[in-house]
Amino acid sequence: MISKFISGFFRHIDSVLLACILFAMMVGLLVLYSASGQQFSRVSAQMINMAVALAVMWGVANVQPQLIERIAIPAYLVGVLLLIAVSLFGDISHGARRWLNIGITKIQPSELLKLAVPIMLAWYFSKRESNLTAIDFLIAAVMLAIPVLLIMKQPDLGTAMLVTASGFYVIFLAGLSWRFILGGLALAGALSPVFWSLLHDYQRRRIEILIDPTQDPLGSGYHIIQSTIAIGSGGVTGKGWLNGTQTQLDFLPERTTDFIFAVFGEEFGLIGNILLLILFAIIIARGFVIASQAKSTFSRLLAGSISMTFFTYCFVNMGMVSGILPVVGVPLPLISYGGTSMLTLGLGFGLLMSIQTHKKLVATG
C-alpha cells in the first residue's frame, strides 16, 4: 500500500536527474553556509527556495507535455504583455526597470520568458513540422526578438542573453540551415560595432573591464580581481570548507549569489571544480538523452533547449567568475542563493521529467 503510494508519487520523477539535483543542492547549501559567514538564516531561507522549486518540479513533471503545448501561446503572450507593462510602469532600481509591482509582491517577468520563449518556439516548429521553410525560421526569429529587445531595454543584458540562447537553441535544433547559422555569425560579427553603440555605458564598461579588469579596480573590476584571486589561491585541493580566506575575510563581493562559485573554488580547489563540472555535465547529458528519446517534435526541441540553456547558465557563470566572460549577473544554477532562479530551474527540470515520463502515453496515443 505504502510502497504503491510511493511508486505512484515518483511515477513522473526521473531518478537520475533527481539524484543529481539533490546532490547539487546539498553542495549549494554547504557553500552557502560558508559564504554567508556561517549564518544559518540564509541557509534555511535557501532551503525553503529549494523546497518550493522541488514541489514545482514535481507538479510540472506530472503534467502531460500536450497540455504544456496548449499553453504555449498564452504563456508567451502574457510574458510579452508583462514585459511591456514593466517598460511602462515597472519599478526602477539601480537604474534599470525590471520589476513589476502587482500589489502583493514584485515579479520579474523577464524570468518567465526564459521558459515561455522556448516553449512557444518548440510549439511553432512542431506545428509546422515537416514543411519547414526559411520563412518559418524568420517568424521564429521575430518571436524571439520581441521579448529579447524588451528585456534589453530594461536594461538586463544577462537575462536578454539567456532568453536569446534558449530561443536560439530551439531554432538550431529545429534544423536551421548551416548557411544561415554561419551567415548569421558573420553578420553578427559585422554588426557588432552597431550593437556596441546600442549598449549602455555600464554594459560597455563591463566588457572593457573584462578585457582589462585593472581598468576599474574600484568598481566592477574589483569583483573579477577578487574572484580570480579566490579561485587561484584555492589550488588543487582547496583550503577546505569554511577556510577560504578571501571568503571569510569579506574580500569577495556578492559571494552568496552570482559569485558563489569563487567561494566553492577557493574552498574545494581544482578537484572540487572538476567534480562540480562533471555533476553539471551529467545533468546536461541526461537532458540530451531525454531529448533524443522524446517522441514528439515539441518535446524533443523543448528538452534539447532546456538542457542547452542549463549548460549556458553553468558556463556563463563559471566563465564570469573565473574571469573569461564579462560580469553579466547570471547565477550558478542550483548553487547560488536566490528564489527566482531556483524556481525557474524547478520549472525547467519539471518539464524535462514530464517529457521523459509521459512518452509511453504519447506513443500509444
Partner: protein
C-alpha cells in the same frame, strides 16, 4: 505513398535532430573542457601567484582623484580653478588624546578658533577612520615645521591637496556655483547613479550653479594605484596604476566683465539681472544680489560665516534670478499688447479717452490709472510708452483670461525656461482652472483686468522675464537659454558646443511687432517712462519699465514712497533689448524695493548695454545711497507674496 513520404520526413527529421543534438553536446563538452583548463591555469599554473596575493590580501587600491575641470567665462577668464595647498589632517581613530594632540599642534602651527569649529563640525559628520583637515593653506614654513616634528604626531599627516579656488570671489556665484564636501545625501545619490566608484578619493562635489549641473563633466575619472601593503598598511610597492583623467573644462556664455559691471551697478541693493543674447539663448549676465564668496564653502564653511549668510535678511544664498518670484507689473504690458494686436484688437488708429480710471460694466468699482488725471487720447503705441493702465485694463477684459494667458505662455510665462542649471521655479500665470484647483474659488472678471497690467496672481522670475524679452526681441522665436556655451575635453581638447534649441516659434505679424517695438523705443525717448535711460545712448533701446507693489494699498489710500518702510517699497522692474532694430542683447532687471523701474533698474541695464554694445566701461561714481538697509523689517524678500486684494494700483 503520402504516408511513406511523411514517415520518411519524420525519420529524416529525427535523424537531423540527433545530428544537431550531437553537435550541441560536442560544443558543451568542449566548453566545459575549456573551463576545466581555465581552472587548471588559475589553480595550478598560477596558484603561487594568487596564493601570495590572497595570503596578504594585502592589495590595497589607492584612488588618485582627478583634477576638477576649470570654469571659464566666454572670453576665457578663469572663474574656477584648482591649486595645491598643504593641509594638516587628523585621523581621529589613530589618536588616543585628541585634545592634547591638537593643543600640541597649535604650538607648532597656528590653529584658529574658526579652524577648530570647522574641524569639530567635519568630525561629527565623518567616520573616525577618515582623515579630516584641521588646518588648510599652510605656508612653506609651517609645512616645514610640522615635517620636522612629524614623529611626535602619529595620526596627523601633512598632505598636499588640490583646492578649488574661485579667483573672482563673489562674482557670479549664483551662476558658477561652488563645491563643498560630499555629505550623506550626495553619497546616496552617487550610489543611485552608479558612479560611486568614481568618487573614491573625492571629497567634494558641486553644489549649485554650473558646478552642480555639470558635475559629471567637471569631475573627471579617478585614477588609482594598486599597491602591495605590509601588515601596518604601508605601501611596499606599486603593482599597477592608472593616471586619473582630469575633468572637462566648461566655457560659459557669461561675460565676466559684464557680470562685474552689473553686480557693481547694484551696489548694496538687492535684486537680479539676467541678460540674454536673443538669437542664441546665451546668458551673458546672471546676477543675483547680494552674492557671496564661494571660497567659503570649499573647506567646509565655518559656523559663524554660515550663520551670517543663512540668517541675513538680505538672503544672499537665494538665487533670485532662478527662484525669486515677483509680479511683473507693467513689464508685462508689451506681451499683453502683442496678444491684443495678434487677436485683431486695438489696431491703429484705435484709441481710447483715458479719464484716469476703468470700470467694468455694471460696476462702480474704479480700476485706477497710475496717473489720477488720466492720459487723454491714448493709442496702442502711446499706451506702451506712457504705460497707460486704463488702456490695458480694457484690453485684458476684452481678450479674456484664457486667450491672454494662452498667448503669453509662448513667451515662457508660468513655466520653466529649461536653463542648464538646477533649481529654476516656474512662476505663475493664473488661469480660472488654476484658481479653482488652488483656492476652490471661481475666477472674477476683475482678476482678468489686473492681469492686463501684470498684477494679481501673476508671478515671474527674473530669468523668465529676460527670456520673454529675448523672445520678443527675436520676433517670437524662443531659444532655450543656457549658461554653458561649450565643454572642452581635457584630453583631446575637442570643444563640444551646446547646441541651439528652439523651444517655441510664434508666427507674428510684422506690423504688430513694429507697433510694440515703436512703443518700447519711445519709452527711452523724451516723454517715455524711462527717458533718462535712453539719453545720449548712441543706439536705440526698446524698453519697458515696471513697478511691483510689495504691500496692498487700500481704495482711497495713497502710496507715499517717503513715509513707507524701505522693505515695503515697490520693486523696480525694467526690461529692454538693444539695438532695437537688430537686437544683440535682451535683459531684465529687478531691484527689490527700488521704487520706480525707470530710475532704479534702468540705469543698471544701461551700464550693461553700454559695455556690451559699445565696449564702454562705466565711469567711477559714488554708489547710489538712496537705499540703506533699515534694521527692523519682517517681510521676507526674494519671494514677494502677491497682494491678493489689490484691485487698484499705483503705477508708472
Amino acid at each position: 505513398m503520402a504516408y511513406s513520404t511523411e514517415l520518411r520526413n519524420h525519420q529524416n527529421e529525427q535523424h537531423n535532430f540527433k545530428v544537431r543534438l550531437t553537435i550541441a553536446a560536442i560544443i558543451a563538452f568542449v566548453v566545459f573542457c575549456a573551463l576545466g583548463l581555465r581552472f587548471y591555469y588559475l589553480q595550478v599554473k598560477r596558484h603561487d601567484y594568487y596564493h601570495t596575493l590572497a595570503e596578504s590580501n594585502r592589495i590595497s587600491i589607492v584612488p588618485i582623484s582627478p583634477n576638477r575641470g576649470l570654469i571659464l567665462d566666454r572670453n576665457g577668464a578663469v572663474l574656477a580653478h584648482n591649486f595645491f595647498v598643504y593641509t594638516l589632517e587628523v585621523t581621529p581613530s589613530k589618536i588616543s588624546h585628541l585634545d592634547t594632540t591638537i593643543a600640541d599642534l597649535a604650538q607648532l602651527v597656528e590653529i584658529s578658533g574658526i579652524d577648530l569649529k570647522r574641524f569639530k563640525k567635519l568630525k561629527s559628520q565623518s567616520h573616525s577612520f577618515e582623515s579630516i583637515p584641521i588646518r588648510t593653506h599652510l605656508n612653506e614654513i609651517e609645512a616645514a615645521k610640522f615635517a620636522v616634528n612629524r614623529y611626535r604626531f602619529p595620526g596627523v599627516e601633512l598632505k598636499s591637496r588640490l583646492y578649488r579656488h574661485y579667483p573672482q570671489g563673489q562674482l557670479g556665484t549664483h551662476a558658477v556655483g561652488y563645491i563643498s564636501r560630499i555629505n550623506e545625501r550626495d553619497l546616496a545619490q552617487l550610489k543611485e547613479d552608479n558612479v560611486i566608484s568614481n568618487y573614491k578619493g573625492t571629497d567634494h562635489i558641486g553644489k549649485g550653479g554650473v558646478e552642480q549641473a555639470f558635475e559629471r563633466e567637471l569631475h573627471g575619472i579617478t585614477g588609482f594605484q594598486q599597491v602591495e601593503i605590509d601588515a601596518d598598511g604601508k605601501a611596499v610597492r606599486v603593482l599597477s596604476s592608472a593616471a586619473p583623467t582630469s575633468g572637462n573644462n566648461i566655457v560659459l556664455s557669461i561675460d565676466a566683465k559684464l557680470q562685474a559691471i552689473a553686480e557693481k551697478a547694484f551696489g548694496d541693493r538687492r535684486g537680479s539681472l539676467v541678460a540674454i543674447q536673443p538669437n542664441t539663448g546665451e546668458v551673458l549676465g546672471f546676477v543675483s544680489m547680494p552674492s557671496f564668496d564661494p571660497n567659503l564653502f570649499v573647506d567646509g564653511i565655518d559656523y559663524d560665516n554660515w550663520n551670517a549668510l543663512n540668517n541675513s535678511i538680505d538672503k544672499p544664498l537665494i538665487n533670485r534670478a532662478l527662484k525669486g518670484i515677483y509680479p511683473p507689473g507693467s513689464t508685462f504690458k508689451p506681451f499683453v499688447a502683442l496678444a491684443g494686436l495678434e487677436a485683431g484688437k486695438r489696431e491703429p488708429p484705435f484709441s481710447i479717452q483715458d479719464a484716469g480710471y476703468f470700470t467694468l460694466p455694471n460696476s462702480r468699482h474704479r480700476y485706477r490709472d497710475w496717473k489720477p488725471s488720466g492720459h487723454g487720447s491714448v493709442d496702442m503705441r502711446k499706451a506702451i510708452t506712457i504705460s497707460c493702465d486704463t488702456f490695458f485694463y480694457g484690453l485684458a477684459m476684452e481678450l479674456g483670461i484664457d486667450r491672454l494667458t494662452d498667448f503669453v505662455r509662448h513667451f515662457g510665462f508660468g513655466q520653466k525656461t529649461g536653463l542648464d542649471i538646477h533649481g529654476e521655479v516656474s512662476g505663475l500665470l493664473p488661469t480660472p482652472d488654476w484658481k479653482k484647483r488652488r483656492f476652490k474659488q471661481p475666477w472674477y472678471m476683475g482678476e482678468t483686468v489686473i492681469v492686463g497690467i501684470g498684477q494679481g496672481y501673476t508671478l515671474v522670475t527674473p530669468l523668465q522675464l529676460a527670456y520673454a524679452t529675448a523672445t520678443l526681441a527675436n520676433q517670437g522665436t524662443a531659444i532655450r537659454p543656457h549658461i554653458v556655451n561649450a565643454v572642452v575635453n581635457s584630453k583631446t581638447h575637442v570643444v563640444t558646443p551646446i547646441p541651439l534649441t528652439i523651444l517655441d516659434k510664434l508666427d507674428l505679424k510684422m506690423q504688430n511687432l513694429e507697433i510694440v517695438k515703436a512703443g518700447m523705443v519711445d519709452v527711452t525717448l523724451p516723454g517715455g517712462t524711462a527717458a533718462s535711460v535712453g539719453a545720449n545712448a548712441g543706439y536705440s533701446i526698446a524698453a519697458k519699465t515696471g513697478t511691483a507693489q510689495v504691500i496692498g494699498i487700500k481704495q482711497n489710500e495713497r502710496y507715499n514712497e517717503k513715509s513707507i518702510n524701505e522693505r515695503h517699497r515697490d520693486h523696480a522692474l525694467f526690461i529692454a533689448y538693444a539695438p532695437a532694430e537688430a537686437p544683440t542683447i535682451a535683459l531684465a532687471v529687478i531691484v527689490e524695493n527700488g521704487g520706480h523701474g525707470g530710475s532704479a533698474a534702468g540705469p543698471i541695464a544701461r551700464k550693461v548695454m553700454d559695455y556690451f554694445l559699445l565696449g564702454k566701461m562705466p565711469a567711477e561714481e559714488v554708489a547710489p545711497n538712496n537705499v540703506k538697509t533699515p534694521p527692523n523689517t519682517l517681510l521676507p524678500n526674494g519671494a514677494t507674496p502677491p497682494t491678493l486684494n489689490a484691485e487698484e494700483e499705483h503705477y508708472d
